[in-house]
Amino acid sequence: MRLSLVAAISHGRVFRRLGGGPRSRIDLLRVLVTALVRHERIEAPWARADEMRGYAERLIDYAKRGDTDERAMRMADFWLTEKDLVHKLFKVLAPRFQPHAGSYTRMLQIPNRDNLDRAKMAVIELKGNPFPPLIRPRRDSEKTLLNQLLKGYREDAQRAAGP
């Protein structure tokens, strides 16, 4: 039970303080969510991208309910400042992520910004976007020792099972 508010201790606080106040923070995140839904891949300071990620995924969860749902439509109306994106959200993104259970976004760190501030930047994208992939998943090479041993074991097993 909170009897006093101790400043300078933030144990257990999950939300960051961004911008100039709580209203400004929500407006900042709203702009970023709108940009993500429009462009499907954006660069932003790492803290803002991390904060926005949760809101974006919850918005997609709301959108999955369908556009007849009153709460979903109100959420989309609040969070997307450009109203043509509401159509995109319900008609493109909701069907795209219907088979997924969660984690509709991918966030990766990029080199620090070139400005004087050298800010820590991240690129956040919706999965399934039409752009080139940021990371190419590499399969382990066949030539590594472990893979060679496993290959030999597999061949031995096949030879024992075959004839």
Partner: protein, 189 residues
Amino acid sequence: MAVVVLHSVPSLRALLQRCWQRLERSLLPAAWGAQSPPWGRRCNEFPFPSGLAAACLPGPAGTAGSGGVPGLLDSALWMAAPKKRRSIEVNRCRRRNPSKLIPVKRNIDVCPECGNLKLKHVLCAYCYAKVKAETQLIRKEMGKKEGGPFNAPTVETLVLYDGEKPTEKDEGKRIIERARKRPSWFIQH
């Protein structure tokens, strides 16, 4: 009545005199500097500037006492100043202390795609710049197709390069044409 009490009990008078002296000492310490031994002893132990020892002498204290307004020598405010020049050995110890050095980064790796250096947890700068440039060109084509602002499409998008045709599973998608050969790092699924 107090006078009668003082005359009758000499010890009480001595006690009152001592109390009064202590009060005076606490109010004007500079005037009493030379006279009280504890003050003098403390002068030697703590690193007060030598000006304080001079103030302990009755000369300036006497003038201050007569002047009424306490000057810089008599006031309790003293400024810190280095006593000796710091030798180069001491300076080196301070400047090269590990807490002051920039920590060495041990998380630098070689990107397997292009061979440039990258931090382990960060994307390769060269590869990311490549992908970013291509994405911007694709977005330019998309902008041309949409015409104006706020025309976000209500169907999925597919990017096709020279000589590529959409397959049957890309049925209702908007096609974006790019007039170049498909780059090797952009695999079509």
